[in-house]
Amino acid sequence: MEIMQIVGLGLITTIFYIVLKEQKGVFALQLTIAFAAIVFIMMMGKIQVILQVFEDLALKANINMFYLTTIFKIIGIAYIAEFGSQICRDAGTESIAGKIEFAAKIIIMVLAIPIIVAILETIIRLIP
C-alpha cells in the first residue's frame, strides 16, 4: 500500500519541520517543497494510467481529441498551480499564492475558450 508510505513520510516530515522551524525556517520550507514534490511524483504514474483510460474511451467514442487534450491541459495546470500556491501559503506569502491562482485561472480560461466557442456555435446551429 502506497498510502502507508506517504502517511509515514508525511509524519516524519512534519516532525523534522517542527524541529527545523525553530532554528532555520528556510530548511523547513524546503523540506515541505521536497515532500510535496515526492508525493506528486508518486501519484503522477497513477494519474497517467487514468488519463490513458480516458483517452482510450474517447477514441472508442469518436470524440475529437482536441477537446480531450484541452481538458488534460486544464487539469495539469490546476494541479501544478495548486502545488505552487499551497507551498507559498505554507511559507506565509498569501499574496503570491493568490497571484499564482489568478494566473492559473486566466490560463485555464484561455485554454477553455475554443471549447466554449464550439458549444456556442453548436447551440446557434440548433436554434433556427
Binding site: L20, K24, V26, Q30, A34, I38, K73
Partner: protein, 65 residues
C-alpha cells in the same frame, strides 16, 4: 521514488543549525552566516532538481506544450 531527499534535507538543516550556533558562540558571525548560506544553496540544488523532474513529468503526462 527516492524518499531519501527528505532525510538529506533535514540532516543538512540540523547540521547547519548546529554549525551556525557553534560558530556564533566562537564569535565568528560572518562564517556562521556563510555556512548557513552554503547549506541553503546545497539544499536548494536538491529541491530544484526534484522540482524540475516533477515539472517535466507533469508536462509529459498532461501534454502541456
Amino acid at each position: 521514488m527516492d524518499v531519501g531527499v527528505v532525510f538529506k534535507i533535514a540532516g543538512i538543516g540540523i547540521l547547519t543549525a548546529v554549525l551556525h550556533s557553534v560558530l556564533k558562540s566562537f564569535g565568528k558571525e560572518e562564517q556562521a552566516h556563510l555556512a548557513t548560506l552554503a547549506g541553503v544553496t546545497v539544499v536548494l540544488f536538491m529541491v530544484i532538481q526534484l522540482l524540475s523532474g516533477l515539472f517535466d513529468y507533469v508536462r509529459s503526462v498532461f501534454s502541456l506544450y
